[in-house]
Symmetry: C2
Subunit: 338 residues, 2 copies
């Protein structure tokens, strides 16, 4: 349990809000806006911008889940192997967060040198082995600045998908994170927990969100990505049109001696290798946590969803507002009025 | 009908073989090789590297088709609008070439300036309107060199997909190209035929390859991409483990006064906006051509598939070998022994 009462709450709230990983989500809204006039013309898409993956209704009770992620050029420069490995993890997480079963990936890779290609592909191949999801095609550019984009498809029953925009005031906030890991090799803000596990451990862990979906135990959910633990919850609140109050002392975080340098302030900005935020009714919270822990993650309730469109952190003595969606934007995407 | 007898055949063969658009396909083999040791471990994928799109068996008689394409950085520099527009066309073509129905796209875009984003998205939005296929998600990087990757999913009946690796000696070669266009604004090697058409014309045209698939009229097929008309046929021959002999005088090409500057030498290196090479039994060729022409393309038989693994061009007086797959490689991908 972090000694949360000693935290400079205002400073932490500000650092989460202005964190690079969060502010980078800004362009999503303008992308969404550009397509708005055309997107409405096409049916068949259950969830789209603002969710981890789009869900495309194929009419037999199934949806195809579809997502893409690019890897920062600077991470490729630092380590093409990790860029390749990470590209698999972040894509798998997008499908997992929806409660879906990942099927296959494709990639587009640019580099002028053969070694970079080779290392990126070796990293991807390692990810493929862990998760058991193949790369089935793609495109290579033997020119240009190093870049790596990966897209993924998955499948789920239409009624079983876990959306980002469906959290309700009164739901509880559950973080589920694989804490058996360590700070990543390339950034103090990444927590790496996949490379040291067996494929069996990984696949069992990633079945848990599918079970959450199948049993309809969550009201909403999202994988924790670059914006970190609170920033990702913020995105979920923004798209759901609600707020949240989070008790810092109850957030799941590493407590082992190997990770003693990870403070709650830093943890709030970290990108776990495997981590999700779910919302659930109080009634389902226990079963939700049980399923996630059975998969190997650590899961706990740490707050509640509210009607006031503010994300508030609470250290037991005082509170601070991280996001106020009356005036703040992360992606700017909000659920359309029903 | 081009006056094909006056063509310097050896020079043309050499220019096709060494064309930038063809030689860029080289890295595909090493990508394929890197994944080889892991790919075999996963079932469910009907077609993968070497085909225009991967086909993933979802077990109900349907396959999900999945492909990705990146747009050359230099095209984005020249015109971000065209890069966006083209990214839609090339992705749609990958699904169309398989006989599939496109469902949705995702994109990953990098740029440091907002205007480039906006122009890319405007171009994509125009493509979306033409084809009626939405962009449902993606990822933006507000940093790094300009880059654009798009992935697409489609759907087809498993028994109806048109593969690249299933052409047989004795099949005829059919080119089907939309000739109602003009040299593209950004390259003398692109032929643009989409922007000037109505969505209705475009959608009707792109139903034709779906009908070819449904009626099983083709033995194999591929969309004509950067390697051009002969280079794309070469890729199909390489993956099918066969050869082809093509009569230059019978290749469909623009004959209108607006496009009088397009010689057969140049046409052989051009990338049509909408163009496919199909192989078919002699028996089905007529019906295949009828379907493609009803969609608005010009289609004709111009050669035969052979057992000798050479792609040979014929001007009526003499012949020249463009590719000899005993020693040449385009992608290096060959069908595994059955």
């Amino acid at each position: 349990m972090p000694n949360s009462e000693s935290i400079d709450l205002q400073k932490l709230a500000e650092s989460i809000k202005t964190f690079d990983g969060t502010s980078r989500k800004g362009p999503i809204a303008s992308v969404s806006e550009t397509f708005k006039d055309v997107a409405d013309a096409y049916g068949g898409c259950v969830a789209d911008f603002g969710d981890d993956a789009a869900a495309i209704d194929i009419g037999n009770g199934d949806v195809i889940l579809f997502a893409a992620d690019g890897i920062w050029g600077r991470l490729i420069e630092k380590s093409p192997w990790w860029a390749g490995f990470t590209s698999v993890i972040v894509n798998i997480n997008d499908i997992a967060a929806m409660g879906g079963r990942p099927l296959a990936m494709v990639d587009v890779v640019s580099s002028t040198d053969a070694d970079t290609f080779k290392e990126i592909f070796k990293g991807m191949a390692e990810g493929i082995k862990k998760f058991g999801v193949p790369v089935v095609g793609g495109h290579t550019h033997p020119e240009g600045e190093k870049s790596l984009s990966v897209a993924i498809v998955g499948i789920a029953k239409k009624d079983h998908i876990i959306r980002s925009d469906s959290a309700k005031p009164g739901d509880v906030v559950i973080y589920a994170i694989d804490l058996n890991g360590r700070t990543g090799p390339n950034s103090p803000y990444s927590f790496e927990s996949v490379s040291m596990k067996t494929p069996e451990q990984i696949r069992k862990m990633y079945e848990a969100p599918q079970i959450i979906g199948q049993k309809q135990l969550a009201t909403a959910g999202k994988d924790i990505s670059n914006p970190g633990i609170i920033g990702t919850l913020g995105m979920l609140c923004e798209t759901s049109g609600v707020g949240a109050r989070v008790r810092l002392a109850e957030i799941v975080m590493p407590k082992d001696s190997e990770n003693s340098e990870i403070t709650i302030e830093r943890w709030c900005l970290m990108h776990p290798g495997t981590g999700f935020v779910f919302t659930a009714t109080a009634e389902n919270a226990g079963e939700c946590i049980r399923v996630l822990e059975e998969g190997g993650m650590t899961a706990a309730v740490c707050g509640e969803m509210t009607a006031d469109q503010k994300v508030i952190i609470d250290n037991g003595l005082e509170t601070a507002v991280v996001f106020d969606f009356e005036k703040d934007k992360i992606t700017g995407i909000q659920k359309s009025a029903e």
